[in-house]
Amino acid sequence: MRPEVRDVWVEASASVGNASSLHTAGRGARRVVEESRESIAASLDVRPSEVIFTSGGTEADNLAIKGVFWARKSLDPNLNRVLVSAIEHHAVLDPVEWLEKHEGAEVKWLDVDAWGRVDPDTVRQALATSGVALCSVMWANNEVGTIQDIATIAGLCADAGVPFHTDAVQTFGQIPLDLNLRGLAATTLSGHKIGGPMGVGALIARRDLDMTPIAHGGGQEREVRSGTLDVPAIAGLAEAVRLAVTDREEHAAALTSLRDVLIARVSELVPGATLSGDPLNRLPNNAHFTFAGCEGDALLMLLDAAGVHVSTGSACTSGVPEPSHVLLAMGVSESTARGSLRFSLGRTSTQSDIDRLMEVLPAVVERAGRAGVLSLPRSREL
């Protein structure tokens, strides 16, 4: 958490009111919530009533996907198709798959190209079929960093009269976001990715977007989201959003130059390293590589021992490293996908971190390459 955010968060935690209560303390809490909402709305250039507080990005994505699907379907039972990119975060993928399995939704997975881009023409064609309930494409991919042409895709959805949702959890604070794009009906934001508290996020939803609640109760947030609000977390989120917007340009410029040094040096010094995603139109904090002949968790283990912390992407619930569905959707082979690493840069990253990484990375990749892919059965080895 950013220190400025922590101060706000701690201060708000000293007051005890429930924002739903009518007594004095409750009114005080209510005031904090509403001022936070107004602050966030001002930072994002949206209306306060468009800010729906949630427990984080996952809940906001679920509300957008399931809530919009149910609302649209109750309006017209023929609205049963969901258009969604194949490279979404699990917080979008899983509710979509759940709708497919349990609610009879028909899912059209939008293909991506080798850089992980959704071609607007793909969306145009998918929208040409009838019965589309909603469309969701993340603003930028969390693993490979590719930024999508959201303005064009949202515009196509507007033309077709289809609500469009985007998960901007990874994007917010990195690139300028225009939440008033024509056709953009709902945007997911999360606190902890911008130095805010964990366990708080928001769905920025147009006032005319109809959603069915996914959990029922007090209806505290616009009657579509129930549950006692976490007042200190909301106050912290507002501060984090404010800082993310005011700092963004400077922050992004610093990260972009670091990122480009990192990409250039890894590409130059590590044989077999291939940059994933769009080389130019990518998140400032993201560099993602595949290392041919290596296993990601072997790289992770060796780097961890050398004091460098990176991420390989997702693991299943028993912790088994999985080849990334994002890379597979981009046409990367399963064995290559297993040898991938994401380098995320943050507020505290420096040139010396990159120097340190480059001291160890070539030897680490060499060693991991020798260890190879031993977990495969012998019959699959060459």
Partner: protein, 359 residues
Amino acid sequence: MRVVAALSGGVDSAVAAARLIDAGHDVVGVHLALAREAAVGGPGSRGCCSIEDSRDARRVADVLGIPYFVWDMSERFMEDVIEDFVAEYAAGRTPNPCVRCNERIKFAAVLERAQALGFDAVGTGHYARIESGERGAELHRSADPEKDQSYVLAVINADQLAGALFPLGDSHKDEVRAEAKERGLLVADKPDSHDICFIPTGDTAAFLRKRLGPAEADIVDAESGEVLGHTDVAYALTIGQRRGLDLRRPASDGQPRYVVDVDLSTSRVQVGPRSALAVTELVGDHVRWCGPVEDGEVNGHVQVRAHGEPVPAKAIVDGDAVTVYMSEPIFGVAAGQTLVMYSGTRAVLSATIKLTAHD
């Protein structure tokens, strides 16, 4: 040393890892994912199993403050242990999958990978001791005779032994549980695992029936030839087995009857009295010296199952083959079982039983 501590999620491996850290090693926790369902469905589908054990293992690593990784050994385990297990039964033999797992997975694939990644050894929570003898590392029985696992480890050779650490070898199980509690490891009260890990129900016959389909056979009296019963999973019956035969008539002498022979080619399972199970000679192949290689003859005791009684015996080794002569009979030995020759507390060699005889 840099050591991979294999963390199963149970109490033994947790305490073993803790002791490795105390001994000053640079320890990384690794949980072996040995089984999982294939991923199916749309993008991002995930298939997993043994979630609870994996979480317990991760929690142990967190409490001990060591890095934690999951190594996916499931495909190798499927090929080298599960398929081998099924194929052995289909061929009328009785395999021990834990022996196979130690031989092919834990002290082969895992150790190789650890060494390739710059580690010196793999430490586990097995109850056995490694002692340095004049001619190198030797495998010995654990201090706790109840928990001794030297039998299932006797398939690893001298090189593998040199890369293995068993920090629990000098301890009794109750001490290990008490230590886990003292160290704040929440797995202290977790029950021991007894079943074959990939058959959690314990119903081996049902597992084999699912994999191999039915195999009808008559169960006949070995002496009279009279048909006494029927089975639809002949390969799941093991020499020496008494329970689950569902024989229609009691034996004329009122004594229990045991499976004495399973012949899948003629679909005949023979049963007889315990005396018909007596064996005084074993012929084995696939000899493995678990430590220093001895010249042709080993005198000591032979053991043919994980918690079986050791029996005085002499083994004559000829290359990959061994013949073991016992001075008193043992009962109910099936082809496919592992024999381990001990000299005192030291496990000297193992072999896979091919034939048995009675003089």
